[in-house]
């Protein structure tokens, strides 16, 4: 999945802790513990806030969904990671909606209706977000144009230099 450029900040790196541990030696028991640690890392939000999931698949779905939703209180965190009170409430809300058999899209829409597109880490492509999605490509194009023009001009300047006597330093930069 492509992470959209977030207007507020970077996405928190989760496996940072696991990596730090992983740097050590790789003895059997330790490795095993590491694997365990990796998974507890993923289920961290779960651990601080246990919810009675029907099965593992639902839990996985819940985790991936809440990771795509922004916490509104601490806006650089997603719902899955956030410890904020409101994030917990919203996790419960998402959980309840799941129990009611709502689809991911419906749940997202439910939150968007209340908190606007801001809750989505992936802003939808629409008129107001065109610049956000395609602006970088425009800038890239503009940069390419500048490079092209400069290269051409330099090429021409080089030709004149070889033909004529060396002029005053050309106004290329």
């Amino acid at each position: 999945m492509i992470r959209a450029p977030s207007p507020v900040g970077a996405h928190p790196v989760r496996d940072h802790q696991a990596k730090r541990y992983a740097r050590g030696r790789a003895q059997g028991a330790l490795l095993q513990m590491l694997c365990l640690l990796l998974f507890t890392g993923l289920a961290f939000a779960q651990a601080i806030d246990p919810l009675p999931f029907k099965d593992h698949a639902q839990e996985v779905r819940f985790q991936s969904l809440t990771r795509e939703l922004r916490c509104l209180v601490c806006q650089n965190e997603n719902l899955a990671d956030s410890n904020a009170d409101l994030a917990r409430d919203l996790r419960h809300e998402v959980f309840d909606l799941m129990q009611q058999g709502k689809s991911d899209e419906q749940i997202k829409q439910y939150l968007v209706d209340r908190y606007s597109d801001f809750v989505l880490y992936d802003p939808p492509v629409k008129a107001s977000t065109m610049l956000l999605w395609f602006g970088p490509f425009l800038i890239l194009l503009a940069g390419a144009a500048v490079v092209m023009v400069t290269v051409r001009r330099r090429g021409r300047a080089a030709v004149t230099v070889t033909n004529d006597k060396p002029t005053e330093e050309g106004d290329d930069w």
Partner: protein, 180 residues
């Protein structure tokens, strides 16, 4: 001329940077614009603070505009907003309904008796469930609801004399103009 081009590029960046700084002093980046403006307020039924046996619903409040002010005793910014509501709450022209958000009722009562009660009525949302329908994500927040139950204006953060003068009062004036 083209030798000056990098300088102009630099100048452009400086202007952009300056604009960014200026923009951020004027706007709260953390503010999430509510999608509920000009939409019907969510249906709610909430108990009153002073008498939990009685409930207040959106439909019961239809007919007259009112201001919902989300507050809590644990909320520091609400303490800053409170004196403003005490002095100006009665003069804005619509009833002010306190919305006690995720708060223990005893704490809220104590807070109101200590600092004064600027509200015409206080309703309680202990769990904050209805607040999710309103798109509340912090306190204080204020919603201006018109006689038809439509949210017309939302303030995120404390109401200050300036905000009341420049935003809230014009919004209320617009309401009374359309009313017959």
């Amino acid at each position: 001329m083209s030798r000056l081009l990098p300088f102009f590029g630099f100048l452009l960046l400086v202007v952009l940077f300056g604009f960014g700084i200026w923009w951020n002093t004027q706007h709260d980046q953390r503010e999430v614009p509510s999608p509920l403006i000009n939409k019907p307020a969510p249906a709610f039924v909430l108990p009153k603070l002073d008498d939990p046996a009685q409930t207040v619903s959106r439909d019961a409040l239809l007919g007259k505009p009112y201001l919902i002010n989300v507050f809590a005793s644990w909320c520091i910014a609400c303490g800053e907003e409170h004196p403003v509501l005490m002095t100006q709450g009665k003069s804005i022209g619509v009833p002010v309904i306190g919305y006690n958000y995720k708060d223990a009722s005893e704490d809220a009562k104590e807070w109101l008796s200590k600092h004064g009660n600027p509200y015409d009525m206080v309703i309680v949302d202990r769990e904050g469930r209805t607040a999710i329908d309103f798109g509340v994500y912090g306190a204080p927040e204020s919603f201006l609801v018109d006689g038809k139950g439509v949210i017309r204006y939302k303030r995120i953060g404390p109401l200050t004399p300036e905000v009341i003068e420049k935003e809230l009062k014009p919004a209320i004036a617009a309401l009374s103009k359309e009313a017959p």
